[in-house]
Symmetry: C2
Subunit: 221 residues, 2 copies
């Protein structure tokens, strides 16, 4: 283990490699070169090798990478070799969609509780989960072993949700509300504001009408 800080962009790409290695694995492909994988991911081959070099040596010179093995290693690096227990704050349309999002389940992310402000939603069941009031966050985080809090409430209520989650003892927060949360330094926060991507596209379309930029974004996020 090295004591070098790894840029987020590297982790994001590891996740992309994992996604595509999974597909290759399912197709029965046993070995893949950095050139081939790079082609599939739309990334430079040297970049892939450099990214992996942060964590060790996973390839065989003259051969390439064994798909199953590399996939296993990347999942271990990312921490996807365990189940993660999530708690959802805000069961509106977006929250609902997240609860039912099959791809998260496939990766090992399991929602074990859901909370909402609105009294009329309390008690509703979605699969195994019964929607609870915000006051229960403190108790339920301990009881259900929630590690990550997912915030999908209106911007106005996001900070409150974050405060409750932090006080309850979660270590990480995924914030879908378009606000900059104030959290203690030991809490890891990732923001997902997809309206930013709408605006980027909007700008590209607007500016392309007068000028000629042809830059396509490669990474999702």
């Amino acid at each position: 283990m090295k004591f070098i800080k790894i840029p987020s962009i590297v982790i994001t790409r590891l996740s992309i490699y994992a996604k595509n290695l999974e597909l290759l694995d399912q197709k029965g492909v046993e070995v893949v070169s950095s050139v081939r994988l790079a082609d599939i991911c739309g990334i430079n081959p040297a970049q892939i090798r450099k990214d992996l070099a942060y964590f060790g040596q996973f390839g065989v010179r003259g051969v390439g990478y064994y798909v199953t093995e590399l996939l296993f290693e990347i999942k271990k690096i990312l921490g996807l070799d365990k189940e993660w227990r999530l708690g959802l704050v805000g069961v509106g349309n977006l929250g609902w969609a997240l609860l039912r999002h099959a791809q998260l389940v496939d990766k090992g992310y399991t929602f074990v509780a859901a909370f909402d402000r609105k009294p009329k939603r309390i008690g509703l069941k979605i699969g195994d989960i019964e929607i609870a009031p915000l006051e229960d966050i403190g108790r339920m985080v301990k009881k259900k072993g929630i590690e990550i809090g997912v915030i999908a409430v209106k911007p106005r209520w996001a900070q409150n949700g974050a405060d409750l989650l932090v006080r309850a003892g979660v270590c990480g927060i995924l914030n879908f509300a378009p606000v900059q949360l104030q959290c203690p330094a030991h809490i890891f926060v990732e923001n997902i504001d997809f309206s930013l991507k709408f605006d980027v596209l909007c700008y590209r379309l607007t500016s392309s009408k007068s000028r000629r930029h042809r830059i396509r974004s490669r990474l999702g996020g």
Copy 2:
């Protein structure tokens, strides 16, 4: 108008500035300095000034920026000074959530049509929109003047959705499916794969258990 290509990250930040300027404007704040705005956005002040310098001179030395005026200019730059007409492909849980997402409407993004593969969904109405079959994409894009296609189908069907949208003549695509779409070079594509952010958080939590990184991401995506 300059003929310099603007990095996506600059556009993303402009969107963040706009969001926070909107809040300041609503509070009645008339003038803001780059230091104050930087503090609110969690960004370096020089960065803000550099970002704005790509597009012109919007401030007053010794004073700062007039909030309403700067907001107006940034919206114009981003292309948010008009209504954008969107077509949704895939009305599952996520698609449904996007259709009902109030913040998109506030920004001037309007869904004017929705399409789905599943026969049982065809004909359902959400507000003014009636869900149509995929075969109608070609016709409806022209009829309704759809400029942007939003893909919210399962990964397996995403490329097909993109092909239909491109053939129908949309200029931009927002892709929520975790796949790299193949599109002609003149089509602008933005990918939004939020499971990547889950993985980044997952990695941070995993690695923090053994080491000490304290890097918090600032930008949503």
